[in-house]
Symmetry: C2
Subunit: 251 residues, 2 copies
């Protein structure tokens, strides 16, 4: 057993707030499973706190959850979280592969679920516009169920990302209400040149300047086609159905 | 303008609590879009409250949201919310169609998202075990984005549902880690006899007594197959990918 000072408790607890995560360059994860995933990952761990060592009262003060799990880790944010400049973008994308770009995703649960989907379907890198929700928001981190430690993630200017993909003769996909039935379109899964799937904002979809760079507009058809009052699918659900179809073609 | 009594305000506000929804047989929805959907639906509306009529202060007292929208409707719960007895189950299922059964779904966001998925993909009836989250929980209602007014929903004994489907020579599908690749299995979409897709609990999957009645075990393969550390997909995401594949086969 050892005692955490009030200042230390305050510092750890403050990581639930983006301002302090940015200030310290740290974030926290909670629960045995998440901490184990962190320890196995390439992320640099600052410290692991266990309630058996620091006491349950201190644990409940540093936790962001109403039922604090017995373990919390403080972890360094990755250095290249923000991708800047043409060269870095180009080398990050490389010559092939299937990538995801999130255009202003705002809901923490959606971002976490989308990373979990990418983990399952083998999307190795995800890009998000800088006005998207913070990846180290505790709600995002918990919703990833560990995928945050396995899927590459960068904030970037999506226009640069799109330009690089087009320069490399790659394809850019996005879902639109006036797009073509995804089940009847040829899909390039990125084996010869990069392929990028854009996911739009929860309310407004893909922003105009990004939509203009999309090479193939897709649509997930409702059932029965053309007779449906439902307006849209949730952003994470549309992501899952789209990526699953890309993968189905090459299983 | 008119004034709501304190008792009336308390009664409306109490509908955020399941105990009082059950006591009064009522639930509430908020926001212009949801209220419009309610008015167009077959649901019986008790009353619509607008902040221009009752004042913003009263509105904020009856609302369950931190930023109260300008309109709230109090609505009667449907009479046949709980489906009981073999005969009612049998006539509800009928002779054909694709149905969904939720085995102990606990997360309100998941249930809401699942109803929205069913709305999009034309699943007309959803059954949930009685230990699932309450469909009239405000978080479920909002997450459905109106699908709650279009998709039939019943709490039921899932064993009775499964028996009826099997009696009618129908198929029962469920996703399991040791299931067969969904993309390589024949799927019966319910055109000749009923077909039922079971979705399991977020942590524990499909319960044993229901799993025993599944006729076709499915699996959504990760990518690349067999080399993935990710444990599972979120329940709503698995629902979407599964139903999308059933529909893709018959588009």
């Amino acid at each position: 057993m050892y005692t955490l000072s009030n200042n230390e408790i305050k510092r750890i607890k403050s990581l639930t707030d983006k301002k302090f995560r940015d200030l310290y360059g740290l974030f926290s994860v909670e629960g045995e499973k998440m901490v184990q995933e962190a320890l196995r990952s390439g992320f640099k761990i600052e410290e692991v706190y266990r309630s058996e060592d620091i006491g349950e009262q201190a644990m409940s003060r540093i936790s962001s959850l109403s039922s604090p799990p017995p373990v919390l880790a403080v972890i360094h944010k990755p250095v290249e979280l923000i991708l800047e400049g043409n060269e870095k973008v180009s080398s990050c994308i490389g010559g092939s592969g299937l990538f995801l770009a999130l255009d202003s995703i705002r809901d923490p649960g959606n971002l976490g679920t989308i990373l979990r989907i990418c983990d399952w379907f083998g999307i190795k890198k995800v890009f998000a516009s800088k006005d998207s929700v913070d990846i180290f928001n505790p709600k995002v981190v918990q919703a990833t169920m560990g995928a945050i430690f396995r899927v590459g993630f960068h904030y970037a200017d999506l226009e640069l990302i799109c330009k690089d993909v087009l320069d490399k003769k790659g394809k850019i996909y996005g879902t639109f209400l006036d797009g073509d039935n995804i089940y009847k379109k040829p899909l390039n899964s990125g084996s010869q040149s990069p392929a990028l799937i854009i996911i739009g904002n929860e309310s407004n979809g893909i922003s105009k300047h990004i939509a203009d760079m999309v090479s193939d507009k897709l649509f997930i058809p409702p059932f029965p086609e053309g007779e449906n009052e439902c307006e849209s699918l949730n952003a994470a659900v549309a992501t899952a159905v789209t990526i699953a179809e890309f993968r189905r073609r090459i299983y």
